[in-house]
């Protein structure tokens, strides 16, 4: 895994853009972190990196927002869901095993129902209101190689990157 420290919302956004270059159709990104941690902000960065020009807004109310990009982005927010069977109702499995990139906010609420392999990103508050510690953890072979790539790129873009583990 890799830990990246960002010192401003702009840097968090930039990290999303870097990640976008490593993602491909069928990938799943699970985003975890408290309210206001920056999950939607990181998603904005990923979407921008994939060429989405419209505003990426919080999907809390709608649960799912789809952005037409190449590949398409399925932006989920499980914040308002209370029962796992609601995942079936929103077509979760069909989107997640589909031909786009699935980005799932509040994935920890239903961790037993996530696919076998995914990229887990946890955003934690840092020492000051603007700073964040972002832990990127692979689950499965595909994502282990993705994290190796990320280490190379992030190392040259961010001052404070902890690798190893």
């Amino acid at each position: 895994m890799v830990m990246i420290h960002t010192s401003s919302p702009e840097e968090t956004l930039h990290l999303g853009q870097l990640l976008a270059a490593l993602l491909k159709a069928g990938d799943v990104v699970c985003l975890c972190g408290d309210l206001g941690a920056g999950k939607t902000l990181l998603t904005k960065g990923i979407a921008a990196g994939l060429g989405v020009t419209e505003d990426v807004t919080s999907p809390t109310f709608t649960v799912l927002q789809v952005y037409e990009a190449n590949p398409p982005i399925y932006h989920f927010d499980l914040y308002r869901l209370e029962h796992a069977d609601e995942l079936m109702d929103i077509g979760f499995d069909e989107f997640v095993s589909g031909s786009g990139i699935a980005i799932i906010e509040w994935a920890d609420k239903f961790s037993d129902f996530m696919p076998e392999e995914y990229l887990r990103i946890e955003i934690m508050h840092g020492a000051t209101p603007e700073t964040r510690t972002i832990q990127v953890q692979p689950q499965g072979n595909r994502y282990e190689s993705l994290v190796e790539e990320l280490k190379k790129i992030a190392g040259s873009c961010f001052r404070n990157v902890n690798t190893g583990f």
Binding site: G36, D55, T57, F61, V66, G91
Partner: protein, 339 residues
């Protein structure tokens, strides 16, 4: 001879509520049934919030039956069937669309697809018979914060919307962190009455003149930081002051941007709709400042602020008059924009 009355049966299933309504001539509500009011729903031990499209499937026919029976109208007497086709959650939208198509097909009546956001604006036509376009609309709810120039019944221009969180979402999330029960908006409104709105200065994003866009994510984070900071230092944050100061920040931005947009559009009426339209601070502040500036202001009654099918029926009526009907290929458009 008076012209024949137009009865619109409309369905709304874009998010949590299953709703059906019968409205006459776009203005008079004969019935407006919302799922949570239907006892049969409780029998199934309804999940709240009912995001599940399964719940919509269970509710939709009982809700339509009830709407028709309260209205005293048979399905054959309905002139046309309206339904929300976006924006919203695809699975939820499809339930309403499938039901509306089947009903329209069964009695060979026109089908009309309605944009949910336009529906919110039209809620005001049900409450105020004299209201007519042009006007400026502020749609502010858990899912939307948008300024719309309504030029005619079928002509809208989206001036700006939120770049991140909707205003109502910020209310709910701040309330949740303060431990207030759901829905958070009315709770913050109540608590704010006991607090000092100038106690804490929270940021007002994008407040430079000329921008019709909103951003509430930074404000939400600032409030959460304030609460976290107090907790870390083992201090008791004054929740009433936090609620009042947060609400003041939201309302100040909403009011300033609304008045600026109204001036730019050269209209003399301002129409507010969506769940946050029920907020007492927004109502009093906007009313006062708008009236001082020479505008008439309209807020719908609370039942028409939340998602409901009557507003969809009103919108469908004006589309029907202009011949904007759909065929049976009508599909859900989850990311539907204003035309």
């Amino acid at each position: 001879m008076s012209k024949e009355k137009v009865f619109i049966l409309a369905l709304e299933t874009s998010c949590d509520e299953t709703s059906a309504s019968v409205v006459v001539d776009g203005r008079e509500i004969l019935s407006n049934v919302i799922s949570s009011q239907v006892p049969v729903h409780r029998k199934f031990g309804g999940v709240v919030p009912e995001i599940a499209s399964r719940k919509h499937i269970e509710n939709v026919i009982p809700v339509v039956d009830k709407a028709l029976s309260i209205a005293g109208v048979t399905l054959q007497e309905v002139t046309a069937v309206g339904v929300t086709y976006g924006p919203g959650l695809v699975g939820a939208l499809l339930v309403g669309i499938a039901a509306a198509k089947a009903l329209a097909f069964a009695v060979q009546k026109p089908l009309i697809g309605v944009n949910h956001l336009e529906g919110h604006i039209f809620a005001n036509f049900l409450a105020y018979r004299e209201l007519e376009p042009p006007f400026l609309a502020l749609v502010v709810s858990g899912g939307h914060t948008s300024l719309v120039h309504v030029k005619e019944y079928n002509q809208f221009q989206l001036l700006g919307q939120t770049r991140d969180d909707a205003a109502g979402e910020a209310f709910d999330k701040v309330a949740r962190v303060m431990g207030l029960p759901y829905p958070g908006g009315p709770q913050i409104d109540k608590l704010a009455l006991l607090g000092n709105p100038t106690a804490i200065h929270f940021p007002r994003a994008l407040s430079t003149p000329g921008s019709h866009e909103f951003s509430f994510s930074g404000l939400k984070s600032a409030v959460l930081n304030h609460l976290n900071h107090a907790a870390q230092h083992k201090e008791e944050a004054n929740h009433a002051d936090v609620a009042a100061s947060f609400q003041a920040a939201v309302v100040e931005v909403l009011v300033a941007k609304t008045l600026e947009a109204a001036q730019e559009c050269c209209v003399d009426k301002i129409v507010v709709s969506g769940g946050v339209a029920a907020n007492s601070c927004l109502q009093s502040t906007l009313s006062q400042q708008a009236v001082n500036a020479g505008y008439s202001v309209y807020f719908p009654p609370p039942v028409l602020c939340t998602d409901n099918a009557a507003m969809i029926a009103s919108r469908a009526y004006y589309k029907y008059l202009s011949g904007f009907t759909a065929d049976l290929h009508l599909n859900a458009v989850p990311g539907l924009k204003l035309q």
